[in-house]
Symmetry: C2
Subunit: 459 residues, 2 copies
């Protein structure tokens, strides 16, 4: 008999004679010799109730096991007299596939703390919450690809190992094939290394994506990126996934428009396709979740220049920990005030001082700002950073020099400005940040299956 | 005026008054004062002809430039009198956006060698061949996600940085945040490193994917994986993408069936959605391509046990360089003979000797073989390797010990066998190998945008 998934069974339109399911027992209880099992196979959040009457073949195999055990059930799908469930299975046979010792199985029928569950990240997807999280993460990933494909973008796999040691976005990990169990004598060893020079893990696919955009027009990356910053916060991980569209012939206005549409489309997609899983988060994790998602969907994002934002901050009468001064970067406290207290909605801040932004951002006519933009969302803060790229070779060269970088390293990047250079722009969206926004989960460690943070490399 | 993509214009059903395009000039020729441009914007392989009559506004801006230049054109889309093209644009205005010096622009109108183009990987997507390659790569990626989503699989991002130093698939790169420009004194330094212990780049997402399959049922990964083997061949790269489905309650038969269906579905998808780009490869790269793709689509893959395969090799009367002996791995020459000369079709070899396979593969009842399988395709060889996983704790423990590995490191992997253990199976498909098969391109460096191989870390 072909196996039926729990999700299919729950969506049945009529009773089914002869059905076979496999999955894991979430709970087991007995009443007058009848065993009631809640069966989950990961296909959806809801369990399917299995009723095992006394004398059913295999019922004895359930003795001494319960939550966490894997079983096979054959029987009939029939209307359930129970409350809140349409269907249940009347078992004709049960078979224990893999037992779970009730004393030692860590996931008992109670609520566990997020911190406890991080320690058993290999088992936490078996809980309702982390099952839902992983299903949402999967569907959100698909939404990314579908969004771009429908708009004629091509997906590019930019390199993870990079020879560049300054992509302008943070500290980098070093990658080596030299045997580090032997002491290194000097930096010159890199000449003997796998790539013949020092190698790093990428912090962004942007630069290579630019070269693809200047050939294919509209491209995006979606892959892992890395930061070696030793900061133990709830919003930073050493390894996270980023979505980076790059668009030829686009300017800052175009990608601000696109960033808003992208966030709205992804949020709408999850609301549509993950409603059952999402409901868990709005019920148990963040009761303001639905309103916040709707507020993103229902209105255009506010836009404000950095210069104007500073005026708002200076005039608001609030005392901040960090100085509010033109030329300094906005701190989280400033961003939160603007987004959550002043505008009460998603916010795009644009045209930042050139001095605090990387060399590749396009210098504005005022010479003092660049065509950069950040998208801020309530609660999670910055979710997108982007810019129009400097397409004028002479300006780019000046910025490379001012940043103390070498032309040699960027010869190919400069080539893009020598041959058929075009205005182009793009942004990077932190995929985990978006998941945090969509689910209301406040720690990045809980939206990645196996998080990598300082001193955490388990699994 | 809103910009029209070349692909849209070429697919027009009627002439269009007032159209605006932006893109790059592929060729420029003049005849009696009329300038003819072939415009490409990356949206598709075919160029759109632009006719610029004498006196058209901006025509002078094209003086001294040509191939590689970026332009903006406004005009009318009209039926083309030219051969092989339905539409052309009669320009009313042209504007030079970014020039390309004809002396120094590396991509002139002639065929360049693959090797030359590898040296300018930042520009090669501007050629017909590498434009087509990148569009096919993008569509093939989408096909992967669509295939699994339609079948209820969840996409999992397994970690890239791993604490495991033996995933059983090859040499690993080391990842460190210690400053390697300072000499290291001793191996003990890793205790001070970012993760507090030695970190590597993953060679496979399988082990973490197993833990997700044992919760969500049907999962897959699709991400970069790494090998630090210093082998300079046309089939190996240090960084490549792998697709790894992992299926709970599945056995070896199930995933052999699935592997065949997956390869057929992806091949069929590309044939359907990338016909124009694919045609380039069957015309210019590999004239047997169409037949080979059809042979994959039209018949089931042959299946043969390792033991039976050895008999075929021993009885074939052929002399091989490497010994044909039970217990030794099959070499490329053996695989090619079986696949290309003996069976003349895709081949699955299964049930390999336990001694040459990793600890996690399920031991068969004969005790001497494991439930492993490799899928071999004509010309590219091994494209998939998979197995049923050992779900019996006591057998797994014995294999871990035989392999000289420590229980401590695999505590969580062993937990999957302690709590609700189920038969499960999966495989890994080399994404670049599949692209090589589908396009007929023989060097892995030419199916990845920016390949990483020994001593090659440019771009």
């Amino acid at each position: 008999m072909k196996r039926t998934r729990v999700k299919q069974a729950l969506n049945a339109e009529a009773p089914v004679e002869g059905i076979m399911l496999k999955g894991w027992v979430r709970t087991k209880r007995e009443s007058k010799g009848v065993v009631f099992l809640e069966l989950n196979d990961g296909s959806c959040r809801t369990n399917l109730q299995i009723v095992v009457d006394p004398g059913v073949a295999g019922i004895d195999s359930l003795d001494g096991t319960g939550t966490g055990a894997a079983i096979k059930v054959t029987g009939n799908l029939q209307a359930s007299p129970g409350k809140g469930q349409k269907w249940e299975v009347q078992a004709e046979q049960v078979e224990l596939i893999g037992s779970a010792d009730q004393e030692s199985y860590p996931l008992q029928k109670k609520r566990h703390s997020d911190e406890f569950l991080r320690g058993i990240a290999h088992l936490r997807p078996r809980t309702n919450k982390y099952g839902a999280m992983n299903r949402i993460r999967s569907e959100l990933s698909f939404a990314v690809h579908q969004y771009f494909r429908e708009r004629g973008f091509y997906y590019i796999h930019t390199p993870i190992i990079t020879g560049s040691d300054c992509e302008g976005a943070g500290d980098m990990f070093v990658v080596t094939a030299l045997d580090p169990d032997k002491a290194w004598k000097s930096p010159a060893e890199f000449g003997r290394d796998f790539f013949g020079k020092k190698a790093h893990l990428t912090v962004s696919g942007q630069l290579p994506a630019e070269s693809m955009a200047c050939a294919l027009g509209d491209v995006y990356t979606f892959g892992p990126t890395f930061r070696a910053e030793n900061s133990n916060t709830s919003k930073h991980a050493a390894e996270f996934w980023m979505v980076e569209p790059e668009v030829a012939f686009a300017d800052l206005q175009d990608i601000m428009e696109m960033a808003q549409g992208f966030v709205q489309a992804l949020t709408g997609h999850v609301k549509k396709y993950c409603s059952q899983d999402l409901e868990l988060f709005s019920r148990f994790v963040d009761q303001g979740l639905e309103d916040r998602l709707d507020s993103v969907l229902s209105q255009p994002f506010e836009r404000i220049s950095y210069t104007r934002a500073l005026e708002v901050l200076q005039d608001c009468g609030r005392t901040f920990e960090y100085p509010v001064q033109w030329g300094l970067d906005l701190q989280t406290e400033h961003e939160r005030f603007l987004c959550e207290e002043h505008f009460h909605k998603p916010l795009i801040v644009h045209d930042y001082p050139a001095g605090i932004k990387p060399f590749y951002m396009r210098v504005n006519d005022d010479s003092s700002t660049v065509a950069a933009m950040d998208v801020l969302l309530p609660r999670v803060g910055e979710i997108i950073g982007g810019s129009q790229r400097e397409e004028r070779l002479e300006v780019l060269d000046r910025r490379i020099q001012e940043a103390g970088l070498s032309f040699d390293e960027y010869w190919w990047y400069r080539d893009l400005r020598r041959f058929g250079s075009v205005p182009h722009a793009g942004f990077g969206l932190g995929f985990e940040r978006l998941l945090m926004f969509i689910t209301g989960v406040s720690n990045i460690r809980d939206v990645i299956p196996f998080p990598r943070t300082p001193n955490m490399l388990e699994f």
